[in-house]
């Protein structure tokens, strides 16, 4: 369907409550909800997800008092069938910051609504439980409001975490974190257990909140790119690329085919080392140390490949607006593909060996099951979604980079257990090798720089990539000087944390580490 057909359809179903607004990118359809129809917001969203099969992507709150004298909320839905994003803009009065909650029909929106209350003071009634600020943060101080100066210290107030408690005979509560036993990021978990099984898990996150979105405001895109690389270190390139993508769409910049090939290569290399690492960590957590050692050896090799190609083991300093900052020479490019060919052979023999270790595999089967129904209900994305039968992959749904010109299969498993999440990774590693081989043939000697000159622009657009963990979506609004006015970062972890809470239920506490690892969510990407 075309944009106009969607508008027509929505008007027929809802009446004249939506007006189309300008959009910089061709696959974004902005529709403003008329203020008097605010109470219809949940109905419009339900219609988009249920009847039009739109997938909930993110909600962006924006303090637009200096532009139109009010706050705006942008509800973003993906329509993979037409490679289209429908973006519903809702005006929120600055004095009376309240909208109806949509999370009763779209549960995936729950955390997004709670975050906008904590950061902007916009209440999605009745969804008001604290999420993104800790209890020692004072009430009615909203860090993302424009009047808030980020370069200040806010005094702490008294307060305690509001955990959901389970009470009853023989029910115990186990607090864990924020400093964990392994080398992982900080977060606080409360397990309620009755005997061995976990009957409830509540989590307090945002320990790594660094105010990334706020401190970027007023920066030039070139400067903010350094922050984008540091949203989640293991997804350095994917986040940086999503950021560049958004800026390029605002400025309507074309990217050279050669830069696209290299960008895709780097995305796949990032996928490769992280997936192999996770496979190793899953084995480590079930005590299969030979499997873990083999995986970590391979991971190290892939990270050294990254350094050989880009000068950085984490692919830092590569992404640039309009193209790439550096370009490997022909011998590096050929060395990469020679190494990948041996890496592929080694990976396959490693998997053959590991899969024959039945003691390890038994631990993974039926552990930490996330059912298809729950995954669908919670809007789970990325590898976790694909392991529970949700065929959602931006490489296919919204083709970007070189993906439209590549042959690949989207991995999918139905079981939703730890093994399924590992199998999705194994399939994707194999597919990455295929993709990289195809990219090798597409190398040419064209220019790295963008085909059009960079010019400052204002406006707003989405930028997105399928990172190794799942879809990474940035939404950026540039002001009239071309500086960042608002930058919203949506890491797949923000969608998927709630899946972990469901998947651990009725599992034993000692299995929590391996279940957690099978999701491997980014705390920093979630907290920003």
């Amino acid at each position: 369907m075309k944009k106009q057909e969607y508008i027509h359809l929505l008007r027929n179903a809802l009446g004249e409550i939506l007006t189309e607004e300008l959009s910089a990118a061709p696959n974004e359809l902005y529709l403003a909800l008329k203020p008097k129809a605010l109470s219809k917001l949940p109905d419009v969203c339900s219609l988009l997800t249920k009847s039009l099969r739109g997938q909930f992507v993110t909600i962006i709150a924006n303090d637009e008092q200096s532009i139109r004298g009010l706050f705006s909320l942008y509800y973003i839905f993906s329509l993979p069938a037409d490679d289209l994003f429908i973006i519903l803009r809702v005006s929120v009065d600055a004095q009376h910051r309240e909208v109806p909650s949509i999370s009763s029909s779209i549960e995936a929106a729950d955390w997004f609504e709670r975050e906008m209350k904590d950061w902007f003071g916009i209440i999605a009634f009745p969804n008001i439980r604290k999420l993104a600020v800790h209890p020692d943060w004072p009430e009615e101080v909203y860090p993302m409001a424009k009047e808030f100066n980020p370069r200040q210290t806010i005094p702490r107030v008294k307060g305690t975490f509001d955990f959901r408690h389970v009470e009853g005979e023989g029910v115990f509560e186990i607090p864990v974190g924020p400093v964990h036993a392994g080398i992982i990021e900080p977060g606080h978990f409360r397990f309620s257990v009755a005997g061995e099984p976990i009957i409830n898990l509540d989590a307090q996150l945002f320990y790594t909140h660094k105010g990334t979105e706020k401190i970027a405001e007023g920066l030039t895109p070139q400067r903010a790119l350094w922050l984008a690389e540091r949203i989640s270190g293991d997804s350095t390139f994917a986040h940086a690329l999503a950021f560049c993508h958004a800026i390029e769409r605002i400025c309507a910049r074309e990217i050279s085919a050669r830069a696209l090939v290299l960008r895709t290569t780097l995305l796949e290399l990032e996928r490769l080392y992280n997936h192999v690492s996770d496979i190793g960590s899953i084995f480590l957590d079930v005590g299969f140390s030979v499997g873990a050692a083999m995986a970590f050896q391979l991971k190290e090799r892939f990270m050294q490949l990254n350094e050989m190609l880009t000068g950085s083991r984490l692919l830092r300093g590569m992404a640039a607006i309009g193209g790439l900052r550096r370009y490997p020479n022909k011998s590096q490019w050929n060395a990469l593909h020679a190494e990948l060919a041996t890496g592929r052979v080694e990976f396959n023999s490693f998997i053959d060996l590991a899969m024959s270790a039945s003691t390890a595999i038994d631990r993974l089967e039926t552990t930490g099951v996330l059912s298809h129904k729950d995954a669908y209900r919670l809007g789970i994305v990325g590898i976790a979604g694909r392991a529970s039968g949700i065929a959602r992959d931006f490489r296919q749904d919204h083709p970007h980079c070189s993906y439209p010109h590549l042959q690949f299969k989207v991995a999918q498993h139905e079981e939703g257990d730890v093994l399924a999440r590992m199998n999705v990774r194994i399939d994707e590693v194999r597919e990455s090798f295929n993709i990289l081989e195809q990219l090798h043939r597409q190398y040419d000697h064209g220019s790295i720089a963008a085909t059009s000159e960079y010019r400052e622009a204002s406006g707003h657009a989405l930028g997105y990539v399928e990172g190794w963990r799942g879809e990474i979506v940035h939404w950026i609004m540039l002001d009239e000087h071309g500086k960042i006015y608002r930058w919203k970062i949506t890491d797949p972890s923000f969608h998927n944390w709630r899946a972990l809470k469901v998947a651990v239920l009725n599992n034993i506490v000692p299995d929590f580490p391996v279940i957690n690892k099978s999701f491997n969510l980014s705390y920093s990407g979630n907290d920003r």
């Binding site: 320990y207 790594t208 922050l227 270190g233 970590f296 350094e307 880009t310 000068g311 920093s524």
Partner: protein, 288 residues
């Protein structure tokens, strides 16, 4: 079972020979930036390109300027080299750990005359601490601790809000290639078991108390190592409502390991420097 045994035997030893042999980083690797101070014209291009103010050009008086490079703030992006290819070069040097934060700073003083000539008038080394004697006592004590821990060291890693890039590299220390356990160094699950805290991240507001409590829970004597640009001085995040801007704003730090993130061998070097098993980078050489 036999397959696994065969695999283990076939693999053999993959561990590298650090510190006897330090692996040469790949071509294009960006290590310590080197400024040719004599060639500086005071144009400010490098300082302007630097995203973390690791390079700053300061006006002292109308005839005097200083140009400073602080490796602690450097994220090794190479933008300064791109802005000034004649005067700045990214070297491959990555073993940059030091016990003395001021050793990370290099500063040159320039004279500016009416004709517009811009000349180096001297290099500035850091001002020594006011209380030398107390420093000396502290230093002796530290020497003793380091020798003590030198044989076996237990580390608790604390992520105080990093982007997880440093964690990726710290995790690599446990892989068969870097195998930190061959030095008698172990990562332990609790600060109660630890001799050393390895801290990453700019210390977010939300991690400040947790870091303080972890520090207090660690038996003394102990060492604190700040890993990465964020932990040393806030890195790209600086200090804000959400970030304290460095580990030493919260707890005392013994060793600083620059990098964004430091590669595994830089981490190994830093940890061994902390327990005095490797000489740290010659600070005199840095100040010339």
């Amino acid at each position: 079972m036999f397959k696994i045994l065969r695999q283990s035997i076939r693999t053999g030893v993959v561990t590298n020979s650090f510190p006897a042999v330090v692996t040469e980083p790949a071509e294009g690797f960006r290590g310590k930036p080197e400024i040719d101070f004599a060639r500086c014209t005071g144009c400010d291009a490098c300082a302007d390109a630097c995203p973390t103010d690791a390079i700053t050009l300061a006006v002292v008086s109308h005839t005097e300027r200083t140009l400073s490079l602080d490796l602690g703030h450097c994220i090794f992006c190479g933008e300064c080299e791109a802005a000034c290819p004649d005067g700045i070069r990214m070297t491959k040097e990555f073993q940059l750990a030091t016990t003395d934060k001021s050793a990370l700073l290099t500063r040159a003083r320039y004279k500016l005359d009416e004709k517009g000539t811009f000349e180096v008038s001297g290099m500035i080394s850091h001002t020594p601490s006011d209380n030398e004697t107390l420093d000396e006592i502290g230093a002796k004590l530290k020497e003793k601790i380091r020798r003590l821990f030198g044989r076996s060291l237990h580390i608790r890693e604390v992520d105080a809000g990093s982007c997880n890039g440093c964690e990726v590299e710290i995790t690599a220390l446990n892989n068969p290639i870097y195998d930190i356990e061959r030095f008698g160094v172990h990562f332990v699950a609790s600060p109660r078991h630890a001799d050393m805290l390895v801290v990453t991240g700019p210390v977010t507001r939300n991690m400040e108390l947790a870091l303080r409590q972890t520090y207090e829970a660690t038996p003394k004597p102990m060492l604190v190592v700040a890993v990465g640009a964020c932990a040393i001085g806030g890195g790209v995040f600086g200090s804000s409502y959400a970030s304290c801007g460095g580990v030493d704003t919260v707890v005392p730090v013994d060793v600083y390991i620059p990098g964004c993130p430091p590669r595994p061998e830089a981490l190994l070097h830093g940890i061994l420097v902390a327990v005095d098993r490797l000489p740290q980078r010659d600070t005199d050489q840095l100040r010339e």
